[in-house]
């Protein structure tokens, strides 16, 4: 990609003063507009510390984080929040108003927008997230998946360029999970960058374009999901279990003389049910 990255981490190093723990060890990464990125790693691998630098909640011990070319150290946290929105894993940590409508007015009002603009932002978010029926509901009296959507919608009202979604699908069923996948794509269609910190293997295999794998304060892989799932060293060292069809494809190839069809640059790695069927029955393309 040739465009200027939205976010650049340049030798980003972070040491938590308490316990003198190195949480990020000279990390380099560039994130562009309209990318959908999945960040994965075990607890303590550094992923939360990394994304907290994207919105200025944490400042580097050394190295730099640039947002749209500007050093985050020189910008106010509030200014950064309007640029990079953070959606919490637990919506209860984020919601506080008495109605969904009020919740969705808070951000824009806080940004100093006019009443008209506040209402416009609110309505756009209600439409985007399909919350029409729940306008006057108390955010705590709607189901957990809906509460997650309200959490995303309240960040959407501030129209940040980058959305960080912390475990957007955890604890949700198949229907609400699929809704979240569709919304992630719609955000990208509107020009947003979406960064998902997630262990949802189907989200990583079928929704994101790029996977960043973290281990021991470093990025150990930064590639397409197909390339990452093909990298047995990375998979083993992080103890990530791939989706069932991906595992099936890998074992199929090990057990048979005739491999699964070539479905991409990393041969034999299938990411979805449809790809697995194509690989089995249609055969190599071209």
């Amino acid at each position: 990609m040739t465009s200027t990255p939205l976010i650049t981490c340049d030798h980003l190093h972070h040491v938590y003063a308490r316990g003198n723990v190195t949480a990020l060890n000279k990390v380099n990464v560039a994130i562009h507009q309209q990318e959908i990125i999945g960040i994965i790693g075990q607890n303590g691998s550094g992923k939360t510390t990394l994304v907290k630098h994207f919105n200025g909640l944490l400042k580097p011990t050394s190295g730099r984080v640039l947002l749209d070319g500007q050093d985050t150290v020189k910008r106010h946290v509030q200014e950064l929040a309007a640029y990079v929105g953070y959606v919490f894993q637990n919506p209860n940590h984020q919601l506080f108003a008495k109605t969904v409508e009020e919740e969705l007015e808070f951000g824009p009002r806080n940004m100093g927008l006019s009443d008209e603009q506040v209402i416009e932002r609110r309505e756009k978010a209600i439409e985007f997230f399909g919350l029409q029926q729940y306008r006057s509901h108390h955010p705590y009296r709607i189901s957990f998946p809906l509460r997650k959507l309200v959490g995303m919608a309240s960040v959407y009202t501030m129209q940040p360029r980058v959305f960080i979604l912390d475990e957007p699908t955890t604890g949700q069923d198949n229907i609400t999970t699929r809704t979240v996948y569709r919304l992630i794509h719609r955000l990208r269609d509107e020009g947003k960058t979406v960064i998902c910190v997630s262990h949802d293997m189907i989200l990583l295999a079928e929704v994101v374009d790029r996977m960043i794998v973290m281990r021991n304060a470093q990025i150990i892989a930064d590639a397409t999901p197909r390339e990452v799932f093909a990298d047995s060293a990375v998979m083993q060292s992080t103890r990530i279990t791939p989706p069932q069809v991906t595992e099936f494809g890998v074992q199929y190839t090990q057990h048979r003389t005739r491999p699964l069809a070539d479905v991409g640059p990393a041969r034999t790695v299938v990411l979805s049910v449809q790809e697995a069927i194509d690989a089995l029955f249609i055969g190599p393309k071209g």
Binding site: G41, Q89, S143, R239, Q244, V273
Partner: protein, 288 residues
Amino acid sequence: MERSPQIEISQLTFTYATAEKPALKNINLTIYEGEYVALLGLNGAGKTTLLLTLNGVIPHMVMGEMEGVVTIAGQDTDAMPVRELAKTVGIVFDNPEFQLSQLTVAEEVAFGLENLGVPQVEMHDTIHEVLGIVGLTGLHERSPFALSGGQQQRLAIASALVMRPKIFVMDEPTSNVDPIGKEEIFNVARQLNQQHGMTVVISEHEVEVMAEYADRVIVIHEGEIVLNGHPKEVFQQVKLLKEIGLRVPQVTEMAYMLDVQGRWRTGDAYPITVAEALQVFGDYRSEQ
């Protein structure tokens, strides 16, 4: 070997005090000693409500109206205090943090034992034993809040284990833990079932894991049991499960899609695990 029923539910209907419609409707269910039962359903289908009837929290601590009878190890829950039921039924929830309250791992485990009035000497051995079972040996003096999510959940399991329950109930126990934590919790659940002979009832969204581990899958939809059988049988009902909005294992979905396209050999069962898929799809491939 004849196995005895350990959980017997008959004509159970429960309506929360704040709700108009019942959360559970006419549930009839028997679970036998040593079974590993997976409970599947959408959010709000009634999974948690059903699990709370197993340890007596319903009807004793939740406002609402209950009809029917729940019998645990031969005892009617309506006639048993929750405190007594805790000796038979251990339970953990999706958020381990809410279940922990003590300063150290050992104290957390001791908490339940003290309530039972177990002598100090005996307590020490029991704590050591249960922490070993869940793989937390050596962390006795650690603060529960300094543990990882997976470790916290295993501590919650250990705290329930000291009561030596016959039945272990887990409500979405892996929702809030990382992949290693998930693996650890599923392993502990399997170990309790296979090595300690406990009956395990677990609600979970990870259908692929349940296809590997469970002896039985129960699907609950809008408060009613719609499917109940061996995972291999239940996951054959792809059309029904999809209509409800549930996922099936990905290899099962593959077979179903081929069937819809008229490319599946009539009479073949859909595979549910990787091992089964390797066999059945191996044949298909060589026929091409």
